[in-house]
Symmetry: C2
Subunit: 417 residues, 2 copies
C-alpha cells in the first residue's frame, strides 16, 4: 500500500473513530490488552529477532536494553493500556459555553484532531503507548518506528489491528509504515492532505528534521537547558536537597538540571554546604571564573568554556555561575536557551513572580525540583510528549492535547447578525 | 537592517513586552490612536502616493478602493485601536489551577507567544489592526504588507514606533520589512530562531505558500466549502430566511454558503418556496441532475459539473444537492472539503448531534446562518484571523489565541517525585 493510500485509509478511519462511543474505544483497548497477553510468545520471539540483529550490527548494550522486551516489560505495557481505559475521554466535553446577546448558545466542543503521524526511535513500547492514546481520543495514527525494532513493531501492530477488527473499529485506525525506505519519512511529513499533526519522539536531530521538512504542524519538544536559580532569600538549609534531586534523580532526562545560578550574596555559603553532597553524588562541575574559587573542595571541577552553558548535559555534569539578582539570572537563561524546565528557590514574592513571568520556559517552579515536568507528576494520566514549542500545547501533553475543538452554535432560526 | 537583525531585535523587544504592565501597553495604544489622528495629513498623503501608483499600474477600481484611506476610514481605524484598549488583557490570567497530592500548586498561566510574523496583502488597516492586537497581548510583530500599500504602511509604522518610544516600549516591538524583495518572505518563513508564529492574511495562494515553506508554525485559515443541510424535520417556513442570509448577506465572505443540501422528503416543498426568493436575490443555481427538475422555476440554473461542489463561490452562486439523510449530507461534506462553517436546519435532536459531531468544520450551527463565524459575532472583541487548521486555535481567533501558557508549580521545597 502506498503512503498516499495509507493516508486516505487513515482519514476514513478517523471519521469512524471520531464518533465512536467511549465504551467502544475502551472495549478495543481492553481487547488489545488481552491480545497482547495472549500473543506474548509471538511478540517476544519477534523482539528476539530484533535483539539478535542489533547484536550482530554491534549496537551498544545500553541500546539493546532499550529495545528489549521480556515478560515483565510486556506486562508493564499491558498495564499501561489498561490505565488508558481508566482515563476520562476528553472527546465531546465542552471547553466553555456562553449565550450570546442574540440568544445563540455558543460552545467549544472537544473533538479528535484526526490523523496523527508519529515518528519514533528504538523503544517498542512507544508503538503501543501512542497507538492506545490516539485510539482513546478517537484519532487515527500512522506510525513509523526505528528499524532496530522492526519485527517487534510489526507484531505489536498486528495484535492491535486484530483487536480493532474484533471490536468493530477500522483496522486502519492504527497503521505502520513497513517499508524501510528513509524517503518515506519525508513523504509522511508532506502528507498534509490526510495527516493533521506530526509527533516526533526521539533525539534533537529527528525534531529538527521534522521542523525543517514538514508541511504538517509538528509538536517539537524535549530540549532546552534547565536552570535553577538560588535567590538571596532562599532557604539555604533546604536548597541542596532540591538541587541534588534536580540534577541526580535521572541525569539523562530532559528536565534534569543543567545549570545552577546562585545569587552573589549567598554563593559562598550555599556552595560550601552543597559541594560535599555533589562530591558524594559524583557530580562534575563546570564553573565560571568567578565561581571557581568557591568550588576548591569539589572533587571534579573545571573552568567553563564558551559552549558549556549551552550544553544539555544529560549526565552527571552541572554548570555553576554567580549572578547579581533574579534579572541577571533571567538574562543568563535567555542567552542560554531556557525553554523546558527552570526553577527558582526564594522566599521573596517579587523575585518569584519576576522569575515566573520572565522565564521563557514551558514549566517554571518556585521552591521545587525541575524534575516535576512530567505528565504523570502533573496528574495528566498519560504523557503523549513534552512540547517546548509555544503553539497548541506547551510542556507535558495529556489526552486533551490530542484533541482540537469546534465551535458549536445553536439557535432558533431567528437571530440575525 | 538585515532580517536576522530584525528578528533579534524583535526577540529582545518581546522580552520587554512580555512583562510590561497592561496599563503601559494600553497607554501605548492610546498614544498610537492620538498620533494617528495628529498625523492624518501625512498618512493620507502617503496613501495618495499608493493610490496614484496603483492607478498607473492599472489596478482595478475595486482593488484601489480596498487600498484607499480617507478621513472616515482613518477614524474607523483609530476607533478600532481604542476598542483594543477596552479589551481584557489575557496575559497573566490562569487557565486552570490545581493542588497536586504532594502539595504543589500547579497552574497554567497565559503569556505572550513572543514574536509574530504577519504577511498580508493590500488593505493598510491590517497594519494597525494586527500591530495593536499583538501589542495588547505583549507580542512583538514583524510585518510584511503588500507592495500596493508600501507608502501607507511605512507611514503607519512610523507613527506606531514613535508612539512606542514615547511610552517607554521598544520601537522594535512593531517592525516592518521595507525591502520589496520577494525572497525576504521566504527568509521570514524560516526565521524560526526568532519568530514563534506566522499569520498569513490573504488569499489561498499565500496560505499555501506559507504552509509549504515555513519552518515556523503557521495559522492557516479562511478556506473551505460552506454547507447548509435542511433535514426532513426542519421548520420549512423559517428555512428560506436562514438560507438567504447565509448566501446573500456577504457573498464574498469565506463563511458565505456554497452548497445547499436538502433531505429528499422535503426537497420539492422547500425548493418551491425558496426559488422565488433566490430569483429575487439574483442567485445562480448549480444543481445535481436529481435536483434540476425541482428548480425549473429558477431564473438561472445549470447542471453541476465535476468540480462545482469543490468550488468556494465567493459570489451569488449556490450549489444544490438532494440527500437521503444527515449521514449522506455528512458524506457529501467530507468529500467536498467542509472545514470552515456548516449548518443544519432540524428539529431532530439526534440529527443535530450527528451533524455537530460528524462535520469536519471549525464552526457548526444548528438552526442558524453560517455567517455567524466571526470574532465580533462570537463576542471575542477582536478577530486576529479565522483558523481552519486544527492545532492551537480553530475558527475565529481573539486575543487569547495570541497567547501561549506556561506551567507554574509552587511548592515548599519538600515535595518529592
Amino acid at each position: 500500500m502506498s503512503l498516499n493510500d495509507m493516508g486516505r485509509a487513515a482519514k476514513d478511519a478517523a471519521y469512524a473513530l471520531a464518533t465512536a462511543p467511549t465504551a467502544q474505544k475502551n472495549n478495543a483497548l481492553s481487547v488489545i490488552a488481552d491480545e497482547l497477553a495472549d500473543n506474548q510468545a509471538a511478540i517476544l520471539a519477534a523482539n528476539h529477532k530484533d535483539i539478535e540483529a542489533g547484536r550482530k550490527a554491534g549496537l551498544p548494550e545500553a541500546m539493546l536494553d532499550r529495545l528489549l522486551l521480556n515478560e515483565a516489560r510486556l506486562e508493564g505495557i499491558i498495564a499501561d493500556v489498561r490505565n488508558v481505559i481508566s482515563l476520562d475521554d476528553p472527546v465531546g466535553s465542552e471547553i466553555d459555553c456562553r449565550v450570546l446577546e442574540n440568544g445563540m448558545t455558543l460552545s467549544r466542543r472537544r473533538e479528535p484532531i484526526g490523523v496523527i503521524g508519529v515518528i519514533y526511535e528504538a523503544r517498542p513500547n512507544v508503538t503501543i503507548d501512542i497507538a492506545s492514546l490516539c485510539l482513546k481520543t478517537g484519532n487515527a495514527s500512522i506510525l513509523r518506528g526505528g528499524k532496530e525494532t522492526f519485527h517487534s513493531n510489526m507484531e505489536l501492530v498486528k495484535v492491535i489491528q486484530t483487536a480493532l477488527e474484533k471490536t468493530g473499529l477500522p483496522a486502519a485506525s492504527v497503521q505502520y509504515i513497513e517499508k524501510p525506505d528513509r524517503e518515506l519519512v519525508s513523504e509522511l511529513l508532506k502528507l498534509d492532505q490526510y495527516v493533521d499533526m506530526i509527533i516526533p519522539r526521539g533525539g534533537a536531530g529527528l525534531h529538527q528534521m521534522c521542523k525543517q521538512n514538514s508541511t504538517i504542524p509538528v509538536i517539537i519538544g524535549g530540549f532546552g537547558i534547565s536552570h535553577l536559580y538560588v535567590d538571596s532569600s532562599a532557604d539555604l538549609q533546604r536548597a541542596p536537597d532540591v538541587i541534588v534531586n534536580s540534577k541526580i534523580q535521572r541525569p539523562s532526562a530532559c528536565n534534569a538540571l543543567d545549570t545552577l545560578l546562585v545569587h552573589r550574596d549567598v554563593a559562598a555559603s550555599l556552595l560550601a554546604s552543597l559541594v560535599p553532597v555533589l562530591n558524594e553524588q559524583k557530580v562534575s562541575l563546570v564553573a565560571t571564573d568567578e565561581a571557581m574559587p568557591m568550588l576548591q573542595s569539589a572533587n571534579d571541577v573545571r573552568a567553563a568554556g564558551e559552549q558549556d552553558f549551552d550544553t544539555e548535559w544529560l549526565s552527571n555534569t552541572l554548570g555553576v555561575a554567580i549572578v547579581d539578582d533574579v534579572q541577571e539570572a533571567l538574562t543568563h537563561m535567555r542567552e542560554h536557551n531556557a525553554s523546558h524546565s527552570d526553577a527558582i528557590l526564594t522566599n521573596d514574592l517579587a523575585a518569584a513572580e519576576a522569575f515566573i513571568n520572565g522565564a521563557g520556559s514551558a514549566a517554571v517552579y518556585v521552591n521545587a525540583s525541575t524534575r516535576f515536568t512530567d505528565g504523570a507528576q502533573f496528574g495528566l494520566g498519560a504523557e503523549v510528549a513534552v512540547s517546548t514549542q509555544k503553539l497548541h500545547a506547551r510542556g507535558p501533553m495529556g489526552l486533551e492535547e490530542l484533541t482540537t475543538y469546534k465551535w458549536v452554535g445553536k439557535a432558533d432560526y431567528l437571530p440575525r447578525p
